[in-house]
Symmetry: C2
Subunit: 398 residues, 2 copies
Amino acid sequence: MKKIVLLSLLFVLAAVSAHAQQAIWGVMPLVSPEVHADNSVTFRFSAPQAQSVRITGDFLPARPIPTEYGTFDAPGEAELTRNSEGVWEFTTAPLAPELYSYSFIVDGLRMPDPCNVFQIRDTSTITNVFLIGGDYADYFKVNDVPHGTVSKVWYHSPVLGMDRRMTVYTPAGYENGDKSYPVFYLLHGMGGDENAWSELGRATQILDNMIARGEMEPMIVVMTNGNVDMQAAPGETSAGFVAPTTQLPSTMNGMFETHFPDVVNFVDSHYRTIPDKAHRAIGGLSMGGFHSLHISKQYPDMFDYVGLFSAAIMPREGATSPVYADFDAKLARQFAAQPALYWIAIGDKDFLYSANKDFRAMLDSHNYPYEYMESPDGHIWKNWRIYLTKFMPKLFKK
Amino acid sequence: MKKIVLLSLLFVLAAVSAHAQQAIWGVMPLVSPEVHADNSVTFRFSAPQAQSVRITGDFLPARPIPTEYGTFDAPGEAELTRNSEGVWEFTTAPLAPELYSYSFIVDGLRMPDPCNVFQIRDTSTITNVFLIGGDYADYFKVNDVPHGTVSKVWYHSPVLGMDRRMTVYTPAGYENGDKSYPVFYLLHGMGGDENAWSELGRATQILDNMIARGEMEPMIVVMTNGNVDMQAAPGETSAGFVAPTTQLPSTMNGMFETHFPDVVNFVDSHYRTIPDKAHRAIGGLSMGGFHSLHISKQYPDMFDYVGLFSAAIMPREGATSPVYADFDAKLARQFAAQPALYWIAIGDKDFLYSANKDFRAMLDSHNYPYEYMESPDGHIWKNWRIYLTKFMPKLFKK
């Protein structure tokens, strides 16, 4: 048989069918971002005809934006400089270890770095990402350690009358073992979904690395979708490719909390769990912290460990769900049962700082015990990743 | 306790921290793409200062590109028209049911549609996607049917001396049942990875829908990574965020085929499989078809069902792996064992068409039985999704 020159043909095909002609047709492709030995980073963008190329990213000095509710930090911006070939370039100062995000702004239009295929969606915004390793950011890397399994799993909720999707992490060894594990229910914020913690939160990598280092108990981690109007993340539902929103209308109306026993029942009936309070934790960020607070006090015999990461505290004005009724009495009942850990963390610039301060004062006034961590910065994923690494080692140690 | 106006604060925060000011600050956001009742589609893009906005997509008439190996089709292009507010617009003719992809080209720079967060990466190219339902494209939708579980699973390969990642689909009911299932090993092409079939191939949705309709047997589907230099998809390895390539140097060197029993052993030891030849299928596209051909003849007692989708056939010139030695004798041994199904499909414009024609002639000359399907078009995902829907109903029926 005639041997076809397969590789050459595939080579041509890739050049024709993809849009990556430059990289394939022998022109030296641009590298962007390029992380240097000192952890400074160079970004490059080829646009000979552009008048202006800027970069916006969370590693640049923040731009304070005044609003009627106070001043908020928006990601900083910087100008790229054009060289004689029409390649624009910008190099940062050395950066601290972290997962960073950025976009270009070309003649006023925001667009991704075409040389960097690594992107993460946060609600309706997609940004490029890169990782500066070292220090705690090594938790965010895929390292050569035993890896857990990450599954997209559908469960039925009788309370909501719908099938819904969750993300489940099972630790290395689960699939071919017979051990039973404790379960940590990890909840996202407003605008997020069941993918948020594993993507923006690097929860998979953090879990693999912390378990491998012996810094936390092996556990099952269940990441639900906190928007009861949705079955799953945008595009993963029977509604089709519907654009995500910040989900303002119908979150935090008590329904997520009310349906949560459906989640626990599903997990206990489909996984090798230790199905008791001492082996269940719940925690979440922002709206997920709000959910964790209200679920744990609504079902005081369900969770022994509670984590509030930059949590919203009180329901909205006029909330009528029975979940939010009798706040003080339910909290009294929850603390009378002596939870193994009630953990609160927030950034000193978080817009929910004062709400959390008020809540802690209320806990103090009743002598309800809790642990507290305060970090710099505001209502950002950097803090939530840190809180995850601080909270999980405390779980299931009693 | 003072109730904070939480939703208002989150509203401000989203506007400040995201880049989606337009959508949030009361300006009517653009809808793009907008699918009309007749399945024509309007694309919109706001760029008051742009001189030219074009769209490139696989629903536009293809542009033939002549090369030394023949003529290949590149995605077509069309001009958008600017209105008085600086919004550019283009409306297609009514489109046939299909999953389509596209990008904008703004003053010569390719960029995504900022109104459409749904994107898919194919090797190093990221494009927006949208779905026109109906006909066989309904298989690509998430419908209200029982959903299987999709897991990212790591296995150890003693042959390769490394941990590697695979995608595993387990059918609805697997997790809380005790039934054992047949297994279909489904392989990607050059430049792909263990995510390709579930993302570009819509394999998850196809499986959910075809199983729900009773059109195929419930089965476990294992989607491996065919590039033995990589542990996993780009960014999911200990190498970090390394840009994907077309992987020309070190695929199809015999190592993937040689390590494949490690995959089967892992699956049979970690899942409730029926661990015999009659309950194992292997199939793949392009390089994955090549792998399926050579693995199934190298291990003639392993797979009873073989699917070659637009497959490469013969090894490259000078390939020295023992896997590729004794082609005729190994094929004779495979067919002497009478496989339940040997299935070949290819598009009439595929650059591998003649190689497949030669291969079929050779099979004919030996009276080796096979089934054959020929479709329009070339070496594209549209065909591979169709082939998947045609191949799977034939599996495990003997």
